[in-house]
Subunit: 134 residues, 2 copies
């Protein structure tokens, strides 16, 4: 038998699998939305490396995820004045608009995913999830 902890982690993977499929919106995958949200919150842009740590991706994963977003004019790369190795990924104006629309629609789908939970349970779930792997 899987241990209790293993069962919890299997349930996490299953819930994730059920969720992700339904959260592609406005041509943005859920992974892309996850990448863009931190850009939306930092107006000066974010470093790819930071994003990698935050999202538990590799640096090369971020490089590759940014490429199509740049091509589509959603994100812009800027040089970092203070460090020539680094760069900043910034949401364009169009990107922000698109992301805002995407978040609204994804938010509705997310509520549907959580329809069996009331607000308190949802919050509780979020709190517990935030402790996983810390």
């Amino acid at each position: 038998m899987p241990t209790d902890a293993m069962e919890t982690v299997l349930a996490l993977a299953a819930a994730h699998a059920r969720a992700v499929r339904s959260l592609e919106v406005r041509g943005l995958s859920f992974a892309e939305v996850r990448l863009l949200v931190p850009l939306r919150e930092a107006n000066g842009g974010r470093r790819p490396t930071e994003l990698a740590h935050e999202l538990h991706l590799t640096a090369s994963g971020v490089t590759r995820a940014l490429l199509p977003l740049e091509r589509r004019g959603i994100v812009e790369r800027r040089k970092d004045a203070s460090d020539a190795r680094a760069s900043l990924a910034v949401l364009t104006r169009a990107g922000r608009t698109l992301l805002d629309e995407a978040l609204e629609e994804a938010g509705e789908r997310a509520s549907r995913l959580l329809r069996r939970l009331n607000v308190g349970q949802s919050k509780q779930l979020q709190r517990l999830l935030e402790e996983v792997g810390r």
Copy 2:
């Protein structure tokens, strides 16, 4: 701002990302373990199509996941006597042994992932996760 539901789902994705990385064991990815666990519980083997539904994969995803497991002698394909379109994926004896070892080690890692939660909270998390996307 992302809605509350969206925040919960983002937390789900983040927890999943933190978890999956540390659960590769004995040369089996966490995805492979997830695929093998239902085989372990059904001695007669399982149909790929059922597995696909259960794991929220596509049928072709299962086909492709099974190939390397067959090559490594962990899984065997059998014909389904009652339906010539279908097949059964069965754990080999060696596969069962390997999986048992993998589950033990993965179980330890899973406990470490959940170390900030007590047993009740873990169970609670599992229950809440089981409602997501239902």
